[in-house]
């Protein structure tokens, strides 16, 4: 198996569960870990000598109550499947990460965020209850009033508390099947951060895209995208169109990376010029707005077998300008093969190992190479100094020392996990690397 970024590869023993009795099968003290769509950039669903329990066929919709605005689904159900059903009643999940084949179990385990975490929060905010399996506890259902703390530990627990089998999720109204997108041209990252923060409060989403190729003349130029749902229906009558899901193995099929120094410049400049030449106001389908890469997967494929590196860092709003200046300086001095940067506003409370809090989320995409890894090591130091938190699920090489330094409740998570599961049956490369 391989991580989506191509950073970790490991041969594994894999089981594919489609029935309850398989989940409950006695594996003795053999470590195991559940796996969903496999879109995590870090090896959260394999590694560490664990048996991989593939839950993609555990994808049944158990209950849908449009009146109560809730849906209960099995963990292997994808975001696209949920949207397909809920959109018929003009409802949708409030938090939708960027790829439709991501499973609900994965969303819970990584406590993912969507297009507007400042307004909608993170995935934990829409989980009403969970059904999970742990050999020591059996099949358990835990709700909002859970006093055991297992629910809190499981949402953003990276699959280490047991197998998430099903969840009841809260929905919000889908006020239209089209999204009006306004594009604002920006030339400066600081200006963009201010705009994104301001626009996030009032819009369905607001995020930015920037040229991050380390060239003084063009670095930081970009656009802020602001979207609001509008009426209208999909031309085909279907909210979820057909698309070909990209797998981690499929992403790495190209034996080389397309992104050299010249091609990176050319591609990023071409994208910037294409966006600039389009009208500032446009309209797109809900599906394309929620999952912008679903039908444009070529970007990820072009990184080829060498892979990509993505780092996502949540920086307190007060420190973001200084942090962005430091990142720019570091990029210019080390000149790693960076491509693009994106900013998004967050409002929330970071607990345990959840990527959540108040501030601006800075995302940087790079081609994977030795100079990239050197850059990321230096970026870790900047993150710690700025009081930021790095996303654990987006970085397959993040060291335990950085996580310990950035997440104030690291030790609490570790000790609570140990108390809940002294045998530590659920393990992965991620949990071993982070000392969990």
């Amino acid at each position: 198996m391989v991580t989506f970024d191509g950073g970790v590869t490991e041969a594994v023993v894999c089981q594919r569960h489609d029935r309850y009795r398989f989940v409950e099968a006695d594996l003795g003290d053999q470590p195991r870990i559940a796996r969903g769509g496999g879109y995590s950039y870090a090896a959260a669903s394999f590694g560490g000598g664990s048996i991989v329990q593939d839950l993609r066929r555990f994808n049944r919709i158990l209950r849908f109550d449009p009146e109560a605005r809730t849906i209960e689904v099995e963990a292997g159900t994808t975001l696209a499947e949920v949207l397909e059903v809920t959109s018929r009643a003009d409802l949708c999940l409030p938090v939708q990460p960027g790829y439709p084949a991501i499973t609900i179990g994965g969303c819970i385990a990584a406590n993912v965020h969507g297009k507007n975490p400042a307004r909608e929060g993170t995935f934990v905010d829409c989980v009403a209850d969970l059904t999970m399996f742990h050999p020591a506890y059996g099949l358990i259902r835990i709700g909002a009033g859970d006093s055991s703390g297992i629910l809190e530990l499981t949402c953003g627990g990276y699959g280490l508390t047991g197998v998430i089998l099903a969840a009841t999720l809260s929905l919000r109204p889908l006020t239209g099947h089209r999204v009006a997108v306004r594009r604002i041209r920006v030339s400066d990252l600081g200006e963009s951060a201010r705009l994104v923060e301001e626009l996030s409060a009032e819009n369905t989403f607001a995020y930015s895209w920037h040229d991050a190729v380390p060239r003084p003349r063009t670095f930081g130029r970009g656009f802020v995208f602001q979207g609001s749902m509008v009426g209208g229906s999909s031309p085909t009558g279907r909210v979820v169109p057909s698309y070909r899901p990209l797998t981690p193995e499929g992403r790495a099929r190209l034996p080389f990376s397309f992104f050299g120094s010249l091609t990176s410049r050319a591609l990023i400049s071409a994208y910037w010029m294409a966006e600039r030449s389009r009208p500032a106001m446009g309209e797109t389908s809900v599906f394309d707005a929620m999952f912008p890469f679903a039908r444009r997967s070529a970007y990820f494929r072009l990184f080829g077998r060498p892979g990509l590196a993505e780092c996502q860092i949540l920086v307190p709003s007060d420190d973001v300008s200084g942090f962005l200046r430091d990142v720019q300086h570091l990029l210019f001095s080390l000149r790693p093969p960076s491509l693009m940067m994106s900013l998004k506003a967050f409002r929330g409370r970071g607990r345990l190992l959840r990527f959540d809090g108040n501030g601006i989320c800075v995302t940087l995409d790079l081609q994977r190479s030795p100079s990239t890894l050197d850059f990321l090591r230096r970026l870790d130091q900047l993150t710690v100094a700025a009081g930021g938190i790095p996303s654990i699920i987006k970085d397959s090489r993040l060291p335990a020392s950085v996580v310990r330094a950035c997440y104030p409740e690291y030790e609490q998570f570790r000790s609570r996990l140990q108390a809940m599961d002294p045998a530590r049956l659920f393990r992965s490369e991620l949990s071993n690397r982070l000392g969990l």
Binding site: D18, Y20, F22, E84, V85
Partner: protein, 244 residues
């Protein structure tokens, strides 16, 4: 129309149930674990808006379940077809011939299917048109030292469906047998083979597309017809050398 799917909770059974429900057919699902059936019935009902009821039964243990299925089918307004992808394999189904295991394997893979067809055939012949669909296996092409009882039961099933098709020539019942090669399921995960695998959904599409056609025996994936022909006619001196 209403179809009975026996062995509905996994692999090919799930693929069939999903495709038939998507085409608007009501379903009666039979499998051994009630929890899987509850989940499947809810899922198919929510996704496709069809009526689904279920019967939890171990078809390898007696035939008391037949009347429970009959009751469920009556509640659904009668049956228009039987889809019978039920089956089981055992890792130790070799030439050690454990009597209990052999009895169970033949009961699930052959006896139960004969019992179900026998119970519901009179009802089906009274419908304007109906279909009985069985599922064989390429493992039954030629006896080997592995999957001994399973292959024998599947070969018996082929013979039974041949007779059944002949017997139903002058009736409104269409009889079909699908001989399945490798199909992507929990049984084949990690299987290293150069032969392309089919999918449960692919089986579902094929069966749904053929549902009232007198197709007789169909191989899935299609190339297995020719592979099986080669294996069946391979000379013994060559066949005995192959460890498959």
């Amino acid at each position: 129309m209403t179809y009975l799917v026996v062995g509905a909770s996994a692999g090919v059974g799930r693929g069939l149930a999903a495709r038939f429900a998507a085409a608007g057919h009501d379903l009666v699902l039979v499998a051994s674990d009630e929890r899987d059936l509850v989940a499947m019935a809810a899922d198919l009902g929510i996704r496709h808006g069809v009526r689904v009821c279920w019967v939890a039964a171990d078809v390898g243990a007696g035939d008391a379940y037949l009347e429970r299925i009959a009751l469920a089918c009556t509640e659904m307004g009668g049956l228009d077809g039987l889809l019978l992808p039920v089956g089981m394999v055992a890792d130790d189904d070799d030439c050690s011939f454990d009597p209990r295991r052999t009895t169970r394997l033949t009961a699930v893979n052959f006896g139960a299917i004969v019992a179900i067809v026998s119970r519901f055939l009179p009802e089906l012949t009274a419908r304007p048109r109906a279909t009985v669909v069985g599922f064989g296996s390429v493992a039954a092409t030629r006896g080997r030292q592995r999957n001994v009882a399973y292959s024998a039961a599947k070969r018996a099933l082929e013979s039974f469906f041949e007779s059944l098709r002949h017997a139903c020539v002058c009736s409104p019942v269409t009889v079909q047998l699908y001989v399945l090669g490798y199909v992507d399921s929990s049984l084949t995960i990690g299987l290293r083979t150069r032969i392309p695998m089919g999918t449960p959904e692919g089986v579902g599409d094929l069966v749904l597309g053929n549902i009232h056609r007198d197709v007789g025996t169909v191989y899935y994936p299609w190339f297995w017809r020719y592979l099986c022909l080669l294996v069946r006619h391979a000379p013994w001196w060559l066949f005995r050398r192959r460890a498959f």
